[in-house]
Symmetry: C2
Subunit: 434 residues, 2 copies
C-alpha cells in the first residue's frame, strides 16, 4: 500500500473509530461522510497528515472534480461559473429562489482536512439523504464549492464568493502576483480560468433565497460546553489598527527614572488595558494586540519607539466602532500621561455581517428538533464566504465542534459524530427554509 493510501485509510479509520452508528438515520450516512472527507483529504496530502490544496492549484481543481463526480452520481445538475465556483443543483417541487449551502475545498499551505471540505460534504450529504429517502425539497437546492476562500495564492482570499455576488474588483486583482511572482492572469490561465470569467460569475441573486455554510468552529466554545454544533449569530469583520508610541531612547544606566519618556512603558499600560474595552460593549467583541515591536530593542537602551497592531472584531458594525473609538481615545490618553506621542493608522476594516434573527431562529429550531437540545449561539470571529454572501442575501452558519480549537494545522480535528449531528441540523434547517 503506498503512502497516500495509508494516509487516507488512517484518516478514515480515525473518523470511524469512535463513530456511533446510531447517528446514521433519516437518510444521512456517517460512513459516507467519512469516506468522502477521506477521499478529499487524499488530494494534496502532506507527509505529516495535513493538507495542501492551495487555491488555483491542480489539487484544488482535482478536489472540485471529485465532488462534481459525486454530485452527478447523486443526480445533481452541475454548473461551473467563470470563477470556477461549482454549483450542484437539486430541483425543488416549486420554482422558488434556490437555497444554497456549501463552502470551499482550497486549504492554507499546511492545513487540516475539515476547514472547507466539511461544509461542502455536509451540504452534499443533505442531497444524498433526500436521494436515499426518495424525497425532493420544496425549493431548489444547490451545493456550492467556492473558489479560493483561504487566499493562500495571492494573500487575499474569498475570490469565488466575491465574484458570485459581483463584489470583486477585477482590475485590483489583476495587479496581484502569487508567492512565486506569477501574475494573477497567468495563474488563472494555468487553472483554465480568465479574469473576465470572474466578472461574468456574478449570479442573479434574485434567484437565491439564502446561503447556509457549515464550518468547523476553530475555537473552543462548543468543546467547553460539550456540544456538537452551534448556531452562528454573526461574522465579525476585523478592523486592524497600527499604533506607534514614540518616546525618547536613552541609556538604561544614565537616565534617572524620573527623567524618562519610555515608549514601552506607555505602550504596555495601553496593552494591559485594551482587554477591558470589549466587555463594556458586547460579549462577542474581541480586541487583541498580536504584534509588538520595540525600537531599538537593546537590553541597556530605554525604548524610543513601539509599534503594535490591534485586531478588533465584533458582529455588529456599531459595536465594533464603539470599541475602536474607545481604544483610540484611550491610546491618546495613555500617550499624554506618559509624555509620548502616539500615531494611529487604520490598516483594514471589514464590515461584520449579522445572521438575520429569523435565520438564527429557524436554525435554533432545527437544533431542538433534531438533537433534542437547547441551541447554543456564538459569533464567528474569523471570516468566511458567508460573510461576503451575507452582504447581499440572508446567510446562516452552523459551527461544528473543533478539538482544542486548532485550525489551519494538520492537527485540526472534529469527531465524525459531531460532523454528522451537524448534517442532521443542516438538513432540517434547509427543509425549514425550503
Amino acid at each position: 500500500m503506498d503512502k497516500q493510501n495509508t494516509e487516507i485509510n488512517d484518516f478514515y479509520q480515525r473518523l470511524m473509530s469512535d463513530y456511533d452508528d446510531s447517528n446514521s438515520h433519516s437518510g444521512i450516512d456517517g460512513e459516507r461522510v467519512a469516506r468522502r472527507l477521506s477521499e478529499i483529504s487524499q488530494i494534496g496530502a502532506t507527509d505529516d497528515g495535513g493538507s495542501k490544496r492551495i487555491s488555483f492549484s491542480q489539487e484544488e481543481k482535482q478536489a472540485k472534480e471529485l465532488v462534481q463526480k459525486w454530485m452527478k452520481e447523486e443526480g445533481l445538475s452541475v454548473k461551473v461559473d467563470g470563477a470556477g465556483n461549482v454549483f450542484g443543483r437539486v430541483e425543488g417541487k416549486s420554482n422558488r429562489p434556490a437555497i444554497l449551502s456549501g463552502s470551499h475545498l482550497d486549504s492554507v499551505p499546511h492545513g487540516g482536512h475539515f476547514d472547507g471540505p466539511l461544509g461542502v460534504i455536509a451540504a452534499l450529504e443533505v442531497a444524498s439523504a433526500w436521494n436515499e429517502l426518495g424525497e425532493q425539497p420544496d425549493s431548489p437546492y444547490e451545493v456550492v464549492i467556492f473558489t479560493d476562500e483561504e487566499g493562500a495564492r495571492f494573500n487575499g482570499g474569498l475570490l469565488g464568493s466575491q465574484s458570485f455576488v459581483g463584489e470583486l474588483d477585477i482590475e485590483e486583482e489583476k495587479k496581484r502576483v502569487d508567492f512565486n511572482g506569477t501574475p494573477f492572469s497567468e495563474v488563472l490561465d494555468q487553472a483554465g480560468l480568465t479574469p473576465q470569467g470572474f466578472v461574468d460569475a456574478k449570479r442573479d441573486l434574485s434567484d437565491v433565497k439564502a446561503f447556509v455554510e457549515v464550518h468547523i468552529e476553530q475555537g473552543k466554545q462548543l468543546e467547553k460546553r460539550d456540544l456538537p454544533v452551534g448556531v452562528v449569530t454573526g461574522i465579525a469583520g476585523p478592523t486592524w489598527l497600527n499604533v506607534t508610541f514614540k518616546g525618547l531612547a536613552g541609556h538604561a544606566g544614565n537616565t534617572p527614572m524620573n527623567d524618562r519618556t519610555d515608549a514601552l512603558v506607555a505602550a504596555s499600560e495601553f496593552v494591559t488595558n485594551v482587554k477591558d474595552f470589549p466587555p463594556k460593549v458586547s460579549s462577542s467583541g474581541v480586541a487583541t494586540v498580536g504584534k509588538l515591536e520595540v525600537i531599538p530593542n537593546g537590553v541597556n537602551v530605554i525604548p524610543g519607539e513601539v509599534n503594535l497592531t490591534l485586531d478588533i472584531r465584533d458582529i455588529k458594525a456599531e459595536w465594533k466602532e464603539r470599541m475602536v473609538q474607545g481604544i483610540i481615545a484611550y491610546a491618546e490618553k495613555v500617550s499624554e500621561k506618559h509624555g509620548t506621542t502616539v500615531d494611529i493608522q487604520e490598516n483594514m476594516s471589514v464590515d461584520p455581517v449579522q445572521v438575520p434573527e429569523d435565520m438564527q431562529k429557524l436554525a435554533g429550531e432545527a437544533v431542538e428538533e433534531t438533537l433534542k437540545s437547547e441551541p447554543f449561539y456564538l459569533p464567528s470571529g474569523a471570516g468566511h464566504d458567508a460573510m461576503i454572501v451575507g452582504r447581499h442575501i440572508p446567510v446562516a452558519m452552523l459551527f461544528t465542534q473543533s478539538q482544542d480549537g486548532i485550525s489551519h494545522n494538520p492537527l485540526e480535528w472534529s469527531s465524525l459524530n459531531d460532523c454528522v449531528q451537524t448534517v442532521h441540523v443542516l438538513k432540517r434547517f434547509i427543509e425549514k427554509l425550503s
Copy 2:
C-alpha cells in the same frame, strides 16, 4: 588640505569657538587641552566626524603612542605593562603610594571624541599644569591609559583595568574570537602583546593610593542643572534578567476575551509597573525593560509567549538586590494573576562600586574651592575602568557635562569650558589626595 586635517581642524575650531579664555589659569591651558583632544580625534577619524579606534587596533596603539610622546615631553617617566596599559609617572616629594588618574583611548566602532580621551587628557593636563607652575606633587602621580575599555573587539571590555588589578581570567579570554573570527592570542600577537603579558600586568596595589577617572556624563543631569562637572557617588553595576511569560496562543477572532491566556497582556502589566520599584529603594536605582519579543507576533494571533529583558542598576549592591527581588516577586504575582507561567533567568550581575565617602567629600571640596559652587553628586549608570579598580583600591570619578546625553555616537559633545573646569577640579582633588 586633506580630509583628515579638515576634520581635526573642524573639531579644534569647534572646541575653541565658544571657549572662554579666562578658564585658562593656574597652569591649566584650555588651548592645549583642545589641541591634544583634536590630535587624538584625528586617529581613526570617520567620514561623519566620528571616531573608530577599536581595541587592539593600530589606531588604539597610535593614540597611545601619541600620548606617550606628550608624557615624555612633560618629563613623565613612561611604563607600558604587559596588557598595553600606559603609565606616565611624576615623582612626588615623598615616596608614598601613587595617585593615579586616567581613562582609555579605544572607542566603540562608531564613537565620538570624548568618551575615554577626555579622562586621559585631563589627567595629563594636571601634570602639564604642575610643569608650567614649576610644582611637584606631594605623592607620586601617574597618568594612566587603560587598554580595551569598550570591548569592541571581543564583546567584553575593561581588559586593561582587569589585568591591572589581577582580576582577568586569562584562560577564559583565550577562548574568545573577535568580530572577524580571529582568536584572542592572534589579535594580541598582531598588537605586539601576549596572554602572559596580561597576567604579568597585575600591579602591586600597595603602591597605589587611589584612582580618579574623569569621564563625560553620558547623561543629561549636569546639562539640566547647567553644571560643568559632577562628583560621582558610585558606579552602578547592572543585573540583567531574562523574563519569559508563556500563555496560550490562539486565533484573535475565535477566542472570547474571557477565555484567553495572553502572554503579552501579562508581560505588559509587568512592564507598566517595573518603573515603580527603583524609587521605593533609592534615588539612584534604575530598572529598564529594553528588549521585548512577542511570539508568534502575528496581527491576528493571541501572543503565546513574550521574552523580555530587564536591566537593573544601583550604586549599592544591597539596594540593587532589593530591587531585583522585588521585581522577581512581582513578575510571579502578575503571572499568577493572568494564569501564565513565568521563567526568570539572571544573565549577568556586576557588583556596583561605591565611591568612598571621604573621596566624595574631598572631590566636593575641590569643586567648591575651584568653581566656587556647590558640588552636585550623581551616580554613574554605565561601567568604567574605575568600577574594576574600585573593587581593590579607593576610586573616585568626575563627570563632565555631556550635550544632550549623547554618547557612543559621532554627535557626542562636551564644551571645552566644561572640560577645562573639570581639569581644575581634578587638579585640586589630586593635590588634596596627595
